[in-house]
């Protein structure tokens, strides 16, 4: 067993009780969403059933990266780590974005509070953060930083760092997703062309990093694990990207629908 392995084994495995405790916030989030949906149904149209499913699967896939078998193996197995990150940074954000949580919050809370929330969302901070370029840099740039510096190794030694990295992976993934597809009210909308160009560049950056990791594993990762992990990142990313791109194109298709023009009479 190599020196790297021993270092990784230094991490304390959570016991069963701790596992349950870790699972609690996720279950709470699911409950909150369902409660908000049912509660707001009294004053609004019935909240669509499919959105409950998207939210539940989204929260559960995020939980899968933090609690349970994948999370437990992630400390010593890069393949498991990568599977977890795929769930946390790509699948969960996509599913959660589709479940339109901001819309649900806005219709659940009182008008006064939803006005306040909208004002925050319209603020300068969110204008910058929701720019596809900024979101892509935070998302893909963060991954480059994690895997090509000593951060990956340091993450396994410090609990605080571990939590921060995972939080960043999810939040940056969510920010990236909602900067590309608009399921919730989006005050600062960008053109389809701009978003498409940035999306392709970001996906390219993701693909380049995953192939780079194939030959240059992060410090402490055996090459066999890095090779499988890199392919999971590459092909798993592709699979989720299909859904993201399809939603993006569908939104373009809806927005670009032909309208009967008043300036030019239709000759048919």
């Amino acid at each position: 067993m190599g020196r790297e392995q021993k270092v990784m084994h230094g991490h304390i495995h959570p016991s069963n009780n701790e596992q349950m405790m870790l699972m609690l916030p996720f279950l709470l989030l699911i409950d909150l969403y369902i409660f908000a949906g049912v509660f707001s149904n009294r004053h609004h149209h019935s909240w669509p059933l499919h959105r409950y499913f998207f939210w539940c699967f989204g929260v559960l896939s995020a939980a899968g990266a933090v609690v349970g078998p994948i999370a437990n193996r992630a400390h010593m197995d890069f393949t498991a780590h990568m599977t977890g990150h795929l769930l946390l940074g790509m699948l969960a954000p996509l599913l959660i974005a589709i479940s339109a949580p901001v819309t649900l919050i806005l219709r659940t809370i009182s008008v006064k509070w939803s006005r306040r929330l909208t004002r925050v969302l319209k603020s300068c901070f969110f204008r910058v953060a929701s720019d596809p370029v900024v979101a892509s840099l935070l998302n893909v740039g963060g991954l480059w930083l994690l895997y090509t510096t000593g951060l990956y190794m340091a993450m396994h030694k410090s609990l605080v760092l571990h939590v921060l990295v995972h939080l960043h992976v999810f939040l940056a993934g969510y920010l990236f997703t909602v900067s590309m597809i608009y399921m919730d009210p989006t005050p600062h909308q960008r053109s389809f062309l701009y978003r498409a160009v940035v999306l392709v560049l970001a996906l390219g950056g993701h693909g380049i990093l995953s192939k780079y990791l194939y030959a240059h594993p992060p410090a402490g990762v055996p090459s066999g694990q890095a090779e499988i992990g890199s392919m999971i990142m590459y092909y798993g990313g592709d699979a989720i990207d299909i859904a993201l791109i399809t939603i993006f194109c569908f939104q373009w298709y809806k927005a670009a629908r032909p309208r009967i023009s008043s300036t030019y009479p239709q000759v048919n």
Partner: protein, 165 residues
């Protein structure tokens, strides 16, 4: 049927040419997709990464892969848009597909395989035979696509002039 409608449409030329763009996006994406599924996944001729790859090759491969992924889906949505406007001309679209598909295959065969050395077509002794077949198919696709586009342009011009007389 679709081309009759073209003449009466105000933006006919824009949408007529958009058939090429849609075809090009789809053709490029489709060739890249076939490359990935057939040669990487099914035959295992191509390698995911071979150690001769240069960093430029890695970047080019990553960007092309992302673009082709987007282009396949985007190209299909553009067909849907052309069809709902009654401006879809299959022959012109197919010409665009062949042209861009061939161009990508040629780029893949010459620049990515030979100059950037991302990977070879197959890891055998006489790889040059594979290279020639690969690139000749690419050139045939480019020529066929160009001819098809040219022919639909002529047809369109004839119809356009006939209408004005």
């Amino acid at each position: 049927m679709a081309s009759e409608n073209l003449d009466s449409n105000h933006n006919s030329i824009t949408y007529f040419n958009r058939n090429i763009w849609s075809g090009m996006l789809f053709g490029l994406g489709f060739v890249a997709f076939v490359d990935e599924t057939v040669f990487h996944q099914l035959l295992h001729w191509h390698h995911f990464y071979d150690k001769t790859t240069r960093s430029m090759g890695l970047i080019s491969d990553g960007l092309f892969h992302a673009f082709s992924w987007f282009a396949t889906i985007g190209g299909l949505f553009m067909i849907a848009d052309l069809r709902r406007r009654n401006t879809f001309v299959f022959k012109r679209w197919w010409g665009g597909s062949m042209l861009a598909g061939g161009a990508f295959q040629f780029y893949d065969g010459i620049i990515q395989h030979k100059i950037m050395r991302i990977h070879q077509i197959r890891y055998v002794d006489h790889v040059f035979i594979y290279d020639w077949v690969w690139n000749i198919i690419a050139v045939i696709m480019i020529i066929a696509g160009g001819l098809l586009i040219n022919r639909t342009s002529k047809e369109f011009r004839k119809r356009w002039e006939g209408n004005r007389r």
